[in-house]
């Protein structure tokens, strides 16, 4: 019984580890924004430009690319869009 349990733990550990690696690979493929073109201004760099990436972290209704972009439920047909296939979980 102990051996079976130990084996199952190893299987689960391998599963969790593989899943974590897959998520990390996927995230690193998508997360990086387009690099900003170098600024050749003589003035000092504007510090506010640096924090734009994190600007939406304190609002519960936002994602990195478009604030309040989750207008549709992942499991619904949002007919306000007028097209069935614009629904995320429904096509």
């Amino acid at each position: 019984m102990k051996n079976t349990r130990r084996r199952n733990r190893w299987i689960m550990g391998t599963f969790v580890g593989t899943a974590a690696i897959a998520v990390a690979i996927d995230h690193t493929r998508h997360r990086l924004p387009e690099p900003l073109p170098p600024q050749h201004s003589e003035s000092a760099p504007n510090p506010s430009a640096v924090v734009i990436v994190d600007g939406d972290t304190d609002t519960p209704c936002s994602l990195e690319t478009s604030p309040c972009s989750l207008e549709e439920s992942p499991c619904s047909l949002d007919e306000t869009t007028g097209a069935v296939d614009e629904s995320p979980c429904s096509l």
Partner: protein, 438 residues
């Protein structure tokens, strides 16, 4: 199964069959807790596994911090909500498939009554919120057409949840609990969801009555009244069936349990009523933070499609993934997808709960027939969920509590499919014939 009983006798352990159909071996002296959904054996000797609980806690915390830094605070909160759902689901063994099967086979209704209570509690809050009673909030319910797609999808899902041994939420929390057999179900759940997304345009072209929202048609107060009446009638029906068979109904709280509240809360198991309350609160939190009801299976299709693409597969002809929300989700990190993050949270939360309860990775013996039914069940789960616009959570629960009629259609079709699934389990030798269980 005889071999397992032999093995159990030789090793000095007892054997019992879990709600998922796999055989477990539990040490002699273990205490059985029956919470209305299933009997779980808990050995005081193996209680609390720090080598599981602590890494799970560290993992949840680290991932929440990473999400807050890399994506948004909202995603971090959704992960924590997901973890809370995983703990609630695991500690209360709040599974739809096991509960439905127990009602069909034994006429025990505690799990179904808890599910009805969950739907009623969530409806009480969702109907006013989605019906516009509170101004200034932008929330979206789960709406889908009342048609053949939902009918067929939920029916297939109902069969699949019995063969696969878990529903949408059940598959995730049992995987988190370390049931290796459920990894097969999950794998084919993902494959089924991908195939379902490819076929969905054909299914949605079939006849339907379109979206029918009780909130839009009747207004939220009348719709809520009707919903609660219907749920009360259902509650009365299932408890009446149990009463006729046994002369009384199982309690939703375990009155025999004498441990202090905090100890039960942390180490479990929970009465099924606690599970319903926890899930209701966290469903509300999901709506408020994510802006839409709790859903699970969209992420499975997303993961499968991402894996297919990573393997070099071509998805240019898959119209589902070419525009709208699905295309957006496909084009960004999986950590930016609310459903994926919550699903990851559910698994991590269940691992944490299993570690605290000392029940992680039970010594289950998986036979060939279990593998075959897990493959078939998992595929039907994924395919059915895609056609039905969600699983038992995103389609059934979210549909019902959003006032969408497709949720009720899902219930009827899914339960009918489960009746077939329960009979198939007997046919395949997973369960004993019903006359031997009475």
């Amino acid at each position: 199964m005889a071999g397992i009983f032999d093995l159990a006798q030789k090793s000095g352990a007892r054997s019992c069959i879990s709600i998922w159909g796999f055989a477990h071996l539990t040490p002699v002296g273990a205490k059985d807790f029956c919470n209305g959904v299933a009997c779980m054996s808990i050995s005081p000797a193996t209680r609390y596994e720090p080598d599981v609980a602590i890494p799970a806690l560290v993992g949840v915390s680290a991932l929440a911090l990473l999400l807050g830094h890399e994506v948004s605070g909202r995603q971090a909160v959704l992960l924590l909500i997901g973890a809370g759902l995983g703990v609630s689901l695991f500690q209360a063994a709040f599974g739809f498939s096991g509960g439905w099967r127990r009602f069909l086979r034994e006429r025990r209704s505690a799990a179904i009554r808890a599910q009805i209570l969950l739907a009623a509690l969530v409806s009480l809050v969702f109907f006013p919120l989605l019906g516009g009673a509170v101004s200034g909030v932008s929330l979206h319910g789960a709406y889908a057409p009342v048609g053949i797609s939902v009918l067929a999808g939920a029916f297939l899902f109902g069969i699949g949840m019995q063969l696969g041994g878990g529903c949408g939420s059940g598959t995730l929390f049992t995987v988190g609990g370390g049931h290796v057999g459920m990894l097969i179900t999950l794998m084919f759940f993902v494959i089924g969801a991908v195939v379902g997304s490819i076929h969905l345009p054909w299914w949605t072209d079939l006849p339907s009555f379109g979206r029918i929202s009780l909130l839009d048609s009747l207004g939220w107060p009348v719709a809520l009244g009707l919903q609660l009446l219907a749920l009360a009638a259902l509650y009365r029906l299932v408890s009446g069936v149990e009463q006729r068979r046994f002369g009384g109904c199982e309690s939703l709280v375990d009155a025999r349990e004498k441990r202090p509240l905090l100890q039960r809360l942390v180490f479990g198991p929970w009465p099924v009523l606690w599970g319903a309350l926890g899930l209701a609160l966290l469903s509300l939190a999901t709506l408020l933070v994510a802006g839409h009801p709790w859903s699970i299976t969209f992420a499975f299709g997303l993961w499968g499609t991402k894996i297919w693409m990573a393997l070099g597969g071509d998805i240019s002809s898959w119209s589902y993934w070419s525009h709208g929300y699905a295309a957006t989700a496909l084009g960004r990190s999986v950590l930016a997808d609310a459903t994926s993050v919550m699903d990851i949270g559910i698994v991590l939360g269940a691992i944490l709960a299993a570690g605290l309860a000392g029940r992680f990775a039970p010594a289950e013996v998986i036979r060939i027939r279990h593998i075959l039914t897990a493959i078939a069940g998992g595929f039907l789960l994924g395919y059915g969920a895609r056609l039905a616009f969600g699983c038992n959570i995103g389609g059934l629960l979210a549909g019902m509590v959003s006032g969408s009629l497709h949720g009720w259609l899902w219930l009827a079709a899914g339960f009918s499919g489960s009746i077939i699934g329960v009979h198939l389990r007997q046919r395949f030798g997973i369960d004993k014939p019903m006359d031997q269980t009475a």
